[in-house]
């Protein structure tokens, strides 16, 4: 299967699966560990991937949330994520995709401008979160947020759906592309 579709498998009971896509394995690993350490009533599964498409020989459950991790220090991660986006079905973007930009704290090391990432998130109508994954406390907080988002996207929270969450997370100010 070359394209990820959100609803092509039945959900497992009480199980929520998140897919983290990014180039830097160390960061993804740390984030995954922080997420698994969160207390959550549902059972969490974290899958890590460097790029899409995923190999089709593995039997994996239905993916509820995809988090694309972009490191602002390296343009390679941005290009990688842009390539991966074409392997995701468009119905995923109704709230089940999230962009995570890391490394914005050290401005002097950034080779990708924040505007670029903001425009990318705006084009795909998905929420963009900024977090410095190297710092322990920020990572833990972000893991909590992601776990909560994952629960909503997997349908474990009655009354809120992924689309609902998406419209809640919409930015109220106009994006920079309109301003300039």
């Amino acid at each position: 299967m070359s394209v990820l579709r959100p609803m092509d498998k039945l959900p497992d009971l009480n199980r929520a699966t998140v897919l983290l896509v990014g180039t830097q394995d160390a960061l993804l690993q740390k984030l995954a560990e922080s997420m698994l350490q969160e207390q959550c009533a549902s059972e969490l599964r974290v899958h890590l991937a460097n790029s899409l498409p995923l190999p089709s020989n593995v039997n994996r459950p239905r993916i509820d949330l995809i988090v694309f991790v972009i490191n602002l220090h390296s343009q390679y991660s941005l290009r990688n994520v842009e390539e991966c986006l074409s392997h995701v079905d468009s119905s995923f973007f109704l709230g089940k995709v999230c962009f995570l930009a890391t490394g914005a704290g050290r401005e002097s090391h950034c080779s990708v401008h924040q505007n670029t990432v903001i425009k990318l998130a705006h084009t795909y109508r998905s929420p963009l979160l900024f977090c410095d994954l190297e710092v322990e406390s920020f990572r833990v907080t972000m893991a909590q947020r992601l776990v909560r988002m994952l629960q909503i996207c997997a349908g474990h929270v009655p009354g809120i759906s992924a689309v609902n969450l998406l419209s809640l997370l919409r930015r109220s100010d106009s994006p920079p592309s309109k301003e300039l």
Partner: protein, 244 residues
């Protein structure tokens, strides 16, 4: 959300084969019936939510999507419109549910009060307190509006006073300037000029006469210093008339 916190890693302890089965975990051997019921209820809520999502997906895919190729800008505008529609629907839903809740609350209150009758209870006490506070609020609002009006009146008066004082000062200023102008005019008037000319003429004539007399006295070669009367006359003739 149920209070039973289960922490699972990537390897689940046991898979669930069908919906109704309860998990059998080694550490939850001493689980009470309530925990199991809670788990079941939670699973039920989950399944409901997931079913709702699938249903909505099916409904959405039944809708015909426009097949024509639209420009990117148009697509953006359309997406914005759709997102705003979602927002509107959500907010109207919230508002309606708020209204419903309020109605439910008031209905429950009235029922409760009917049941209790006129005996004092916490609810009636609260309501009486609320009514008292409302009256207090209204009274203080009235007072504050009165005070504001008074303040406004005083401010108006002050403004008036300022304006009148300003006009008075302006009048004074114009009067002064008029006076000054009159003075200047007077000084420059013709009458004074002719008078000044005549004065000059007279002074000249008198000076000439003085010199003539001087000449007469000196020319007569009398010793005017001895005679006191002549001396007085000569000294008087020395006076310069322009300095008078």
């Amino acid at each position: 959300m149920a209070s039973a916190m289960e922490q699972q890693g990537e390897k689940p302890a046991a898979g669930a084969e069908d919906c109704g089965e309860v998990r059998d975990e080694p550490q939850a051997a001493g689980e009470s019936i309530e925990d199991r019921i809670r788990l079941l209820l939670r699973l039920r809520a989950q399944t409901k939510q997931q079913l709702l999502e699938y249903k909505s997906m099916i409904d959405a895919s039944e809708e015909k999507t426009p097949e024509q190729i639209m420009q990117e800008k148009q697509i953006e505008v359309k997406i914005e419109d759709l997102e705003n529609e979602i927002e509107d629907v959500k907010s109207s839903f919230e508002v309606k549910s708020l209204a419903l809740n309020r109605m439910k609350l008031s209905a429950a209150l009235t029922n409760n009060i009917e049941k209790m009758g006129t005996e004092s209870s916490v609810l009636t006490d609260d309501m009486k307190h609320i009514i008292k506070l409302h009256k207090l609020i209204m009274k203080s609002q009235e007072e504050s509006s009165e005070l504001e009006e008074k303040l406004l009146g005083i401010r108006k008066k002050r403004l008036q006073l300022k304006q009148t004082s300003r006009s008075k000062l302006l009048e004074i200023q114009t009067e002064k300037s008029k006076q000054k102008k009159d003075l200047d005019n007077m000084e420059n008037s013709e009458v004074i000029k002719t008078m000044q000319k005549k004065l000059q003429m007279e002074i000249k004539i008198t000076t000439v006469i003085q010199h003539v007399f001087q000449g007469l006295i000196l020319g007569s070669k009398t010793n005017w210093a001895e005679d006191s009367a002549l001396r007085e006359i000569v000294l008087q003739l020395e006076k310069d008339l322009t300095t008078i």
